[in-house]
Symmetry: D2
Subunit: 358 residues, 4 copies
């Protein structure tokens, strides 16, 4: 009889509860990870609220740090007992999407090999990381060892928000000397701000209204912060840039308002790098898009995953180039994850990210 | 007293008339071109209908073929009497936008050097090419000689629709073996179809409904044509691609319908290359955009200009790689340009492009 | 007791012989392919001559077309009985190199995951394709189905020379209107010529001396051919380009002479795309490299592999964009492969490529 | 009669002397700059030693900071009295090379518009900046205003070594998490080290032997320094990288030894970014180049110029992202420039860069 474990399960709209489930079985390419630390993501809150649909009974969570408990028979190059992380997105490596350089959109089951979000499996199409154990598919492509002496919390942002945030800067193709605006300074936006600085932007304008987030934005590299409740952010940014606009605008919230502002402050030829998860149709205003004649680009990015990405994220942390240690503001035991959801979903007590330990 | 010339002038919404104007004076970096052939563009029809605003009294037209009548004192490397073309967009070369690789958005007058469409000057912010004479600014950056033995009509598409259409394929970053859909097969769309073939797409799906345009699309390189009145084009393309969608979708009309269809047929990670001139806000449907999680890009492009671009367009023509000779369906004298507008604006008699000769 | 099969085996310098070997066993991620057609590559001749070292007893060959005889227990998405090809290079998909977009340099065994040529395994580090049966590692990443109605010979060039030749054009980042020189018109060079045309070069200069190869170069897309025994090819190309040089030069032989000529005809800012397998150190002449101040690049490429690449190569063939049918000039049974080597290694009888059928 | 000025003039091999010359006349697109600060470059020492040929009587120097004394009649958008810098390389903006995105190779005089180093004019093909006055050609494309409150010395590195050094990182296409080796830590190498950090490298290995340079390398961003007299740098780097090699190797000296070492430590698929000015042919060892099968690239870069580049360099300085203030180790009056050459050419007294003020 299968052994049991605790897991945070989506029961119904508004209800994620801690319950018991069998410890997962694994196949030949899989690994079973004993979770040592995980966290809650804004996307999980979308699931909780019923804004993003998943199957009832699914274990939630896509940010695993843990130890390899068991390896599939075909999974070579790894060892049981290793400390590892896996990205939120788990490309197989061998799909058409992966071999095309678009692993986040992996979807091995379709005829030609991909569908949107195919690569996001944990807590979306298969059981996730807010549990005592996690089955990781395609372990060889996804498990990245953690160096000794590095704590779980130091790498806890790597699987999702750090990889996503930095990709916002990368997809924006930021160049040395660029001026960049980042709309919203939640965890993803803060990492986008850090990413913009990491790759050479020299004027970074961070937009939010929560004082602690604006303060953290400065620590992450923002040169100027704009409180959108004090001044219309489009006006502010056009003033700051002498009417020129920004080279790259990063959207990190997922609303029409931030999307539209990002487009409006973009100089001709600039790139709007979109990270947010939207829940409505979007409108592109004719003037903000220069009637299609402004050489503007809108590029959306899903969190890049895979072990090589995780290796690089860890290099950024261990080199000290980016310091995300301030992002974990609260800590909970897995037993108390419902309280953690309550705090996080309601953004109480200045919460940025929570650490969950089984 | 300044000598007079004939020119097609925007008088008011609905009225472009042939009238007399002084032959333009030129400055030190300019050239005066005696126009030998020019044409009418869909954008000129937008101007005629009052959908795109220009000043009353402006000479229309942005596709010049002609002979250098007079050179400014500072314009070196050119000779009076040379046959030349200039692009519809005339980058200065020396602006910040140009030096940033974004010459189409040149706008030398602004503080930091650019504004949307700054590089489109002919028939937009200065007098255009539907006249006996044309002042070309920044002549050294913009005038490209025409080889002997090449006719005016052979290069007449280079300044705008060929450069624009091909850029649709380039901006789409088409790769060898890509599947590409091109929405609308007017002159720009036909050139986009030709461009997709020119750079390695192996399955090109052209969408339109006019039989002669679908037939021409095949000649330009379309492997499959879809008549959108016979079948919903999204359904058709998903069927043709076995549900996978296309790698690149090119929008070449400027409507919500084609824009939305282009986004819907795009595979995750694909690029929507937008060429159309829009006249309304656009809607991005949430599902078509995968809620922002599909790694999809929307990239708009304004016609690339400058003499190096014009040199390359001519190389494409003279090498025989692309044959646009079928696009000129009607010919008019400048004296009859009002009739030409009437035919072209109403798309009568199977017109694709008209040649106008002073 | 293992069943036996026939295989072409490297015995010693100068000796590749047909002999019996056990049919390979397969692991969980492998597939066993029954070869229906294969070929001999110039690299195999290097092996034969002892210029490229492999272990004695190794089965040679890296260009397999065949039928899946048996699938490993972990290999999903494929069916026994399917007709397939695999690339000469077999990336695993899950290595660091693969996840970095450099699958040809896969090398799963090293600590961080790659070493030079790690992805070239068939007939190099494991038994190859000149045999009745072939073990294909990482089958899910490497086996690409062949469409019904397409013959073995039609796809026989896909695994190596077509993928390599086209990559020469891709690595050269050929742009619309580029002028390109291709040095040597053996099978790889001919495919590079075809690739240059496929992605938009408008003036292609092919260099060789064998009349049938120059003739075939024209069929593949060369606009001008240069017989290097009739005229110094550097002089010829500088004359043809009015002293400007070429935008991209492709080296497709692997000698100092062709490498140096390619560098000399390259315009400042141009790219030398190197495909050849060299057997000596190379010299970069100071003047040809403009003392390091010419913005010149030298980029080498190993044949891209993997099933997505093979799918794309097949699309190129089936779309009719490139016609390589003329490249197979001779046909042999596997039983006669020693004669095939003799013909091919000595380039007798106008041989370009041979088809070998077990 | 023309007024006179002082200028450092190349008289003969081994002799650069201060002498009198007429203040330059200017043409319609030129500006006359009154130099307030300039410097000496390693390339000037090559000229002094006769290793790089220039005409006798030429004024040397290509790093100008000054004030616009007089503007040509056609030069708009600038004002007499403005403080400005110009890059060492002065692209025209309107040449084919510029319009192709390769302005450093501008060469307006040739038929199709470029030749190697065509864009390097100051102190190479026209009189340079080590003088009281300097004629700047194509002023509109080249003069970048200096912000009030910024000192001459703060921007003195922008025209050449900063632009060159940073381009070494850019041409190497450094990605987040890359490991980079920089060979030689003279002024260019130090700026390359700073550039590697600026755009996201997380492990930077700097190679030199002079203690003050290794110390300065750490200040610029090196994580690890290697003294090549203490340990073979190839061995050291392979040890540091666990045998993997570096993603990008930057050559910043111009010798066979550093070039070869850079190639040897490069991982398969990596980029050797070459900045050095070589004075001999180079050898590519067969093994270091993996016989052409290692997907390795060698890319050389000439200092990017033009006013947009200068604007961006100034943004890097004013944002505090890079601090080059420690590079100016010595200061001289123009009257004492011969002593400055003596110190700099012999690298006495720990000199990195000298500031020269007329």
């Amino acid at each position: 009889m299968a052994q049991k474990m605790k897991a945070a399960i989506f029961v119904d709209k508004g209800r994620i509860v801690l319950d018991e489930k069998p410890i997962p079985d694994i196949g030949p390419l899989d690994a079973l990870i004993r979770i040592t630390t995980t966290t809650i993501c804004g996307t999980d809150v979308h699931i909780l609220k019923g804004e993003y649909p998943v199957e009832k009974g699914l274990t939630i969570g896509h940010e695993p740090v843990g130890i390899i408990e068991k390896l599939g028979s075909g999974a070579t190059g790894l060892k049981e007992g290793q400390r590892v992380i896996a990205g939120a997105i788990t490309p197989s490596g061998w799909s058409h999407a992966c071999l095309c350089g678009c692993g986040a959109q992996d979807g091995a089951g379709t005829k030609h090999g991909w569908k949107a979000m195919g690569g996001w499996r944990f807590g979306n199409t298969i059981d996730g990381a807010q549990a005592e154990y996690l089955r990781v598919p395609d372990a060889m492509a996804n498990l990245a060892p953690i160096d000794d002496g590095v704590s779980d919390e130091q790498v806890l942002m790597c699987p999702d928000i750090m990889s996503t945030g930095l990709s916002g800067a990368e997809t924006g193709q930021i160049k040395i000397g660029d001026c960049v605006a980042v709309f919203a300074q939640g965890p993803i936006g803060l990492c986008a701000t850090a990413g913009a600085k990491l790759i050479g932007a020299t004027k970074i304008i961070a937009v939010d209204t929560v004082p602690t987030r604006l303060e953290m934005a400065r620590r992450m590299g923002a040169d100027i912060v704009v409180d959108y409740k004090q001044e219309n952010p489009v006006d502010a940014i056009m003033r700051i840039t002498d009417g020129r606009g920004v080279d790259v605008a990063i959207e990190a919230l997922g609303t029409q308002s931030t999307f539209e502002s990002a487009l409006r402050v973009l100089r001709p030829g600039g790139i709007l790098s979109s990270l947010g998860v939207y829940s409505t149709d979007l409108t592109i205003p004719l003037d903000a898009f220069s009637a299609g004649l402004g050489d503007k680009s809108i590029r959306s990015t899903l969190c890049p995953g895979g072990k090589e990405r995780m290796r690089r994220m860890q290099e950024v942390i261990s080199s000290g180039r980016v310091d995300l240690s301030g992002l974990v503001t609260h800590r909970f035991k897995l037993d108390d994850i419902e309280a953690a959801y309550d705090l996080f979903a309601n953004q109480r007590d200045g919460v940025l990210k929570v650490a969950i330990t089984p």
